[in-house]
């Protein structure tokens, strides 16, 4: 993959050689530009990934370059929830509540294999991916991801933010799935399709 160099629409026109200098731009562009470059993270750090998140925020990798140095430990002032680490069932209501407390517009980065899919913890205690509880914008793979990986995820999120339209209200819709609608998948079916396969847990061919 790698960062592609898609040309971002500049969207800014500067008046040429006028005594009263002025700028025209699209409101969408201006708002998104501001949002994307000052995402305040809500670090929901639980486990190993939180340590790599700390390393990202510390001196060598310096998250401040992305306008993100202001950790917003209160979800009320946060823009992006960075879920760093595994989320056991006991923590599921916590992360849901934090997500509900964050004001719109809000985004979510699922950092690491455990937050994204349960990772190596395929057992009775761990939620198999936080996307079963809250919507996720960017998944960062790795166990844990390197700081560079997290930064790449953040830059992907910034690109996503820059493409949003204010007119599109559906982006901000929060809905509970309606059992009557055709989009609804019953939990039993979710269980069936998400049953693990080829997992190391089934390595019981010999030797118990």
């Amino acid at each position: 993959m790698g960062l592609d160099t898609r040309r971002v629409e500049t969207g800014v026109d500067v008046s040429p050689s006028s005594s009263e200098s002025w700028v025209t731009t699209r409101l969408d562009f201006l708002v998104n530009w501001g949002r994307a470059n000052s995402l305040w993270p809500m670090p929901f750090g639980t486990a190993c990934c939180a340590i790599e998140f700390m390393a990202t925020a510390a001196s060598k990798f310096d998250l401040a370059r992305f306008g993100m140095e202001r950790m917003s430990f209160s979800p009320r002032q946060a823009d992006v929830l960075i879920c760093a680490g595994r989320v056991p069932f006991k923590l599921a209501p916590v992360i849901r509540r934090i997500w509900q407390q964050m004001p719109q517009p809000k985004w979510c980065i699922s950092m690491g294999a455990c937050a994204s899919s349960g990772g190596m913890f395929d057992n009775y205690a761990v939620v198999q991916g936080i996307d079963t509880i809250i919507p996720v914008d960017v998944y960062v793979p790795g166990c844990p991801p390197r700081p560079e990986g997290l930064m790449y995820g953040i830059m992907m999120l910034q690109e996503k933010v820059k493409k949003e339209r204010m007119a599109d209200k559906s982006l901000r819709n929060e809905m509970e799935p309606d059992p009557q609608s055709q989009l609804y998948i019953p939990p039993s079916l979710i269980d069936e399709v998400s049953e693990p396969f080829g997992n190391a847990v089934h390595q019981t061919r010999s030797g118990l």
Binding site: A47, I51, A58, K60, F73, M120, N123, A125, V201, G207
Partner: protein, 437 residues
């Protein structure tokens, strides 16, 4: 072990120390000449207010709880009357999953359990499994493991120092110490290929030998790291704010500390010289020359001093280990546990059978059990394994030091102020991954 009073030199100007040895918090005023003098008359103390107790909830998501600890505090004004900790928010079923994995497959889980100390956990688990298999590791492997354990102690104490400083309100040491941590990460990465979750050991050896030139990196690190420690020392140890925020908090007497099962720096700060490396040695630790720092009063300040000194002692051990690092094989020559080289496995029938049996069935220890404890940065970390003769343990138990240390927190915080709870909690050096497992 008697508790004695100490004199702590404080560099910033205060109006002296109070009975507990903390810098006095006397309101200051400016006199005509512009000097700071104690305010006279002193402002009236707050009247004794009869009020109802308040129940306050900290966590599970709070920047000062080092993860997902939840504390329910009963407050009388600002004083903690009672504290009920709640844990389990990071319970991931390590011990259950260990019963479904072969011994070598468990090692990646040990990374993620106390994730500040991954190489140390790997070594501890490998030592336990080797006891269970009855394997003696090679000389070179022993020294490499000592290096891994001490590096791991350093990076764990680095995180402790950084987060402790942030909790008390100093941000700069966090940035300094994390730069040093990155250097260790880079070394670990060139050794085994991972920064944090190293999976460094195998039963009977190591995942990899150190690469060429690695010892020079380590020597360079050993030479330069103490300077950073000195900087932090200058910044914190005699700082009046630091002393005022840490002295006299959460003190545990020696007998209490033993009875509560505290271990590691927590126990040693209380004046008990119990260090697994000295008392129940492993990896030839008895042949290294190092000191065990022991505190006097067992308060937060002593724990800080003990850990700072431990980092210096780790550097000493690393220096000695580097000097004695012998040549030779890293892995034992035992095809029950170590895979034969790939070239032999494809040409030699016997090697191929060993390879096949190890991959398909896994190594099988005899029936038995072993409890091997090591001195992790948090304290006595034990792995207890029970084998019924199959390739997977019947029971894999982690004896988590910070779990037991944290269980004494109600005893430590009661009677202190709410803001001191944060300092005391930070001084325990908890890792929720290890506590909840």
């Amino acid at each position: 072990m008697a508790t004695t009073t100490r004199t702590i030199e404080v560099e910033l100007s205060t109006t002296g120390l109070d009975a507990q040895g903390r810098p006095q918090r006397v309101p200051l005023a400016t006199d005509e000449a512009g000097n700071l003098v104690p305010m006279t008359p002193a402002p009236a103390l707050e009247p004794e207010l009869e009020g109802e107790h308040m129940l306050i909830n900290i966590g599970p998501q709070h920047p000062a709880t080092h993860g997902v600890l939840r504390l329910v505090l009963e407050l009388d004004g600002e004083t903690v009357v009672r504290c009920v900790p709640h844990i389990g928010y990071l319970h991931c079923g390590f011990e259950k999953i260990g019963e479904y994995r072969q011994y070598n497959q468990i090692i990646p889980w040990t990374d993620r359990e106390d994730y500040l100390n991954s190489p140390g956990n790997n070594v501890a688990f490998a030592l336990g499994a080797e006891r269970l298999f009855g394997i003696e590791i090679t000389e070179r492997c022993t020294v490499l493991r000592v290096i891994a354990m001490e590096l791991s102690r350093l990076i764990s104490h680095c995180v402790w120092l950084g987060t402790f400083c942030i909790d008390i309100g100093a941000f700069t040491p966090f940035l300094w110490i994390f730069q040093q941590r990155e250097r260790v990460y880079t070394m670990l990465e060139s050794w085994i290929g991972a920064r944090l979750t190293t999976t460094l050991t195998r039963v009977g050896g190591m995942g990899a030998d150190i690469p060429d030139g690695w010892t020079e990196d380590l020597a360079n690190f050993i030479r330069t790291f103490p300077a950073v420690l000195d900087e932090c020392n200058t910044m914190l140890t005699k700082n009046a704010i630091w002393v005022g925020r840490t002295v006299g908090l959460g003190a545990m007497s020696a007998d209490e500390a033993i009875n509560y099962g505290l271990s590691g720096p927590m126990l040693r700060a209380s004046g008990v010289a119990y260090d697994v490396r000295k008392d129940f040695p492993y990896l030839d630790y008895e042949t290294y020359d190092f000191d065990v720092p022991v505190g006097q009063t067992g308060d937060v300040y002593d724990r800080f001093l003990v850990r700072m000194e431990e980092m210096r002692q780790s550097i000493r051990i690393l220096d000695q280990a580097l000097k004695r690092l012998p040549d030779g094989p890293v892995n034992v020559d035992d095809h029950r546990v170590i895979l034969p080289p790939k070239s032999k496995a494809t040409s030699d029938m016997e090697s191929m059978i060993h390879h096949f049996k190890q991959v398909m069935e896994g190594p099988r220890p005899p029936i038995g059990e072993a409890y091997v404890a090591v001195e992790s940065p948090k304290g006595e970390k034990g792995y207890y394994m029970v084998s019924d003769g199959t390739s997977k343990p019947v029971r894999w138990r982690i004896r988590p030091p910070s779990f037991v240390n944290l269980s004494a927190i109600p005893k430590m915080v009661e009677g202190h102020l709410l803001s001191d709870v944060i300092a005391i909690n930070a001084s325990i050096d908890i890792v929720m991954g290890e506590i909840d497992r």
